[in-house]
């Protein structure tokens, strides 16, 4: 790859990321149209694409993005309002930009195809056409701004102090006069207004209660902190507001501008740092923010509260917010990301795997030769190796949130197309899993979501008739469960119609009329290949097309998919995937001299197989574990076809769990925890049941890693049979 190609690849990647960000930002704006940060990120996306396209001479992109950028600049400056219509046009513009980028990357020598040119022109017209009518008055009421700072006695270079004493002030030993006298020592009282607006008339007036309020214009070079300190003792009995002089604003603005940009400060902290606010002001504003949040649904931003409480002027808050945004932006730009070739990462993880194995070998030798002084060194190296292992694996972990949020667009577009009102809810977006898995799960997820939108959720009329809200909802959720990640797609639609599925399955020859299937088994039928042809899907109220493909894809990732549906209430599809870590914490057991690894996360407990304590049914293959039926499997029997048990031998049961299912594996020896590097088995062993991989032990021997889920199923099946199956079927 020459330099230009490398640069183009980076351009392509960057453009794609920016456009994805842009789409997310636009969709976010639909719910929060006033979010400045989001609008800024939109602008930046267009601006950056324009800039880098210019570098490569992609003029068609430059001229188009320039228009979009100008419109966004207007939005950013408050000259143009952003509404649903503009968002739609911008979404289209985003798609169009993506097409332009693709064209420039692949056929840059050729002129722009007509359809792209026409689309460019149309979009530019839509983007700029409403410019005149869409203008909003940009000059915010100046008079208003000033009066906020002023009150009745606004004098430019004076502090404005307002003291509203509470009724108990006298009784608590306060004499407002003394504070005012003290204040005089710090500067000059230019004007003072003494009022008692709340003083009752006649008998109701209690001369020992304080009704006095003061408004003071005060000229002084003292800092806000110093002035506030004058009233420190009165703070509990007096509502104090100190507004800095307008003349000081310039100074504060300069200070704000010069603030450290190496980290993002909170608004309050910034204003305290420059001296425009004191800690007490901030604490009080925060307090009223909390109180407001309790009574009202939406809390006001801190800046607004500060201005309302008249402790700081509007321009200062604005400047601080601007500074904050700038800092954030700068930090985001500086965020330390570095692109790494995935194969290099793979290599590193392999090497770490080898390191884990050789560290195990070293431990073995240290133990074998009883070198106690080397033991400490080995132990600390072990700890290091496992943290290297964890860090290396984390490199490949990504949050699933980004994948999830792409579906916002899908849901938006499909629901428009289908004339349905559907909202997508996302949770657990911060759940991490291996990047390769994330990439491969995208297609099945798209399929399932489309199905939920198309077949699952009814039209608004049908929903209202069924007594549901007109807006349907689809929920995407991800969470970790016993070493697996579970992704759920839940809708509140019509659910699966069992009768129709059964009818179709019988017609398709999948089951017999007297099938005797349970409800979950019937739902499971939609994954069958025979039910997935097109004409059946249109008749079927539930899901149809390609569900067998979905299942195949998920199983290829060593995952499982299950369905849970209640007719009329909705359907939830759960996908359970392994984290596909190359290295896992394992639990080593042995039976018949063979060692096996069980993923530690799936081990519940280990108990002794003692006939006197647990109720063992040797024929049905289950034990009574504290009142629960626990099917069990003798690993020796399963893998070695061992028939005659020498029951004198001491045996243990390892209780394992996968999802809701539990089973016990009967083994001869427990070896305990063991860091396990998964080595995939070759093609030859792909069909081997009950084994998911192998690992090399420290002494060079190989141990098999158990496919716990498969074995649990085998144990459950075994339980139902009186006679063990012939061995030929077990080791296929």
């Amino acid at each position: 790859m020459n330099e230009l190609d490398a640069a183009l690849t980076i351009f392509a990647q960057e453009a794609e990321e920016l456009l994805t960000d842009m789409e997310n930002a636009l969709l976010a704006l639909e719910t929060m149209p006033d979010d400045n940060e989001t609008i800024n990120s939109l602008f930046r996306a267009m601006h950056t694409i324009k800039g880098s396209s210019g570098l490569f001479g992609f003029n068609s992109i430059v001229s188009f993005t320039h228009e979009a950028e100008s419109v966004l600049d207007k939005v950013r400056n408050g000259e143009r309002a952003i509404d649903a219509e503009l968002i739609s046009v911008l979404l289209e513009s985003k798609d169009h930009t993506s097409k332009l980028v693709e064209h420039c990357l692949t056929h840059n020598d050729e002129p722009l195809p007509d359809e792209l040119t026409i689309a460019s022109e149309r979009l530019i017209k839509q983007l700029t056409g409403r410019q005149v009518t869409g203008m909003q008055p940009s000059d915010v009421d100046d008079a208003n701004l000033q009066s906020e700072g002023g009150g009745e006695i606004s004098v430019d270079d004076n502090w404005l102090i307002s003291l509203d004493f509470q009724q108990d002030a006298f009784r608590n030993g306060m004499d407002p006069l003394s504070f005012i006298r003290y204040l005089k020592t710090l500067g000059e009282i230019k004007q003072i207004l003494t009022v008692a607006p709340e003083m009752p008339a006649g008998e109701a007036m209690d001369p020992e209660s304080c009704y006095l309020h003061f408004r003071i214009a005060f000229q002084s070079d003292a800092s806000k902190q110093t002035i506030e300190a004058v009233f420190e003792f009165a703070a509990d009995d007096c509502d104090i507001k100190i507004l800095p002089p307008n003349a000081k604003i310039d100074e504060y603005l300069k200070l704000l501008d010069a603030q450290d940009e190496s980290y993002v400060n909170r608004l309050g902290d910034m204003l305290v740092q420059v001296g425009a606010l004191t800690q007490r002001d901030v604490a009080r504003a925060l307090q009223s923010q909390v109180e407001a949040a309790e009574t009202e649904a939406s809390g006001k931003p801190l800046g607004e509260i500060l201005v309302e409480q008249q402790v700081v002027q509007q321009p200062l808050v604005e400047q601080a917010l601007k500074k904050q945004a700038q800092t954030k932006q700068k930090l985001a730009a500086e965020a330390n990301y570095i692109r790494v070739d995935a194969t290099k990462l793979g290599q590193l993880i392999n090497l770490v795997g080898e390191l884990v194995i050789s560290s195990a070998a070293m431990n073995l030798i240290v133990e074998r030769h009883g070198m106690s002084d080397a033991g400490d060194v080995a132990a600390s190296m072990n700890a290091l190796v496992s943290s290297i292992r964890d860090t290396a694996l984390e490199l490949r972990m990504v949050q699933i949130g980004e994948t999830f949020s792409r579906f916002r667009r899908v849901v938006r577009d499909v629901s428009k197309e289908l004339n349905k009102d559907i909202e997508l809810y996302i949770s657990g977006g911060d759940t991490e899993l291996d990047k390769t898995v994330v990439e491969k799960i995208n297609d099945p997820l798209t399929h399932l979501i489309r199905n939920a939108l198309d077949h699952g959720i009814e039209s608004p009329e049908q929903r209202i008739a069924a007594g549901k809200p007109a807006q349907g909802s689809v929920q995407l959720n991800a969470f970790h469960q016993s070493g697996h990640i579970v992704i759920q797609i839940a809708d509140d639609g019509a659910g699966l119609n069992s009768e129709k599925i059964v009818a179709k399955a019988i017609a398709g020859g999948l089951i017999k009329a007297n099938h005797g299937l349970s409800q979950p088994e019937i739902h499971d039928l939609i994954f069958a290949a025979g039910l997935s042809t097109k004409e059946q899907a249109t008749n079927l109220s539930g899901r149809g097309v390609g569900m067998d493909v979905v299942r195949k894809n998920i199983e290829a990732l060593r995952g499982t998919v299950s369905i849970d549906s209640v007719e009329g209430q909705g359907t939830t599809i759960s996908i359970e995937l392994p984290l596909t870590l190359a290295i896992i914490d394992g639990f080593m057991v042995a039976t018949d001299q063979e060692r096996y690894i069980i993923p530690l996360s799936m081990v519940d407990e280990c108990i002794e197989m003692d006939p006197s304590e647990c109720d063992i049914d040797e024929v049905q293959h289950y034990i009574n574990l504290r009142g629960q039926v626990l099917p069990y499997l003798r690993l020796g029997d399963y893998f070695h076809n061992r028939r005659n048990h020498t029951s004198k031998k001491r045996e243990s049961i390892v209780v394992v769990r996968s999802g809701q299912d539990k089973a016990g594996f009967v083994v001869d020896e427990l070896h305990g925890e063991h860091q396990t590097v998964i080595k995939p088995l070759g093609k030859v062993f792909e069909q081997l049941k009950g084994i998911s991989g192998a690992t090399v032990l420290g002494d060079g021997n190989v141990a098999l890693i158990l496919d716990v889920q498969g074995l649990i199923q085998a144990a459950i099946k075994d339980k139902g049979r009186a006679m063990p199956r012939p061995s030929s079927q077990r080791l296929q």
Binding site: F170, D175, P176, L177, I180, R181, K184, I189, Q191, I192, L193, T194, A196, M199, A201, G202, E203, M205, P207, E208, C210, Y211, L212, F214
Partner: protein, 112 residues
């Protein structure tokens, strides 16, 4: 404390009072009761503040109260003979205009 308020003169609804005590949180309760009672009987009232040796915020507040009560009851209230303590506080709080009474400053009080 004895007689905090001295009734100097009372005729035809015109009343002359003199406050011969401090006007502080310790005395305002009593002073308010007495002054309010006197005000009820008067059309015009004059309060001599010459004897007020000390005045605090509660005292100022009481004066503000009296003024307001008087205005609401259509009584012509004037404060006279402001003592040094009173003048100092009224100036500090910029209240002289509020009461609108001529303040006579004796030639020697600043130096005292």
């Amino acid at each position: 404390m004895g007689v905090a308020i001295e009734l100097k003169q009372q005729k035809k609804g015109v009343i002359h009072l003199a406050i011969r005590d401090e006007m502080t949180i310790y005395s305002v309760q009593e002073q308010k009761l007495q002054l309010s009672a006197y005000l009820k009987t008067a059309k015009e009232a004059q309060i001599d503040l010459g004897g007020v040796t000390e005045i605090d915020s509660a005292g100022v507040q009481l004066l503000m109260f009296l003024k307001r009560e008087a205005v609401s009851q259509n009584i012509k209230l004037s404060l006279t003979q402001h003592s040094q303590a009173v003048v100092e506080v009224l100036e500090l709080l910029n209240l002289s205009k509020h009461f609108g009474d001529p303040i006579v400053i004796s030639a020697d009080w600043k130096s005292s």
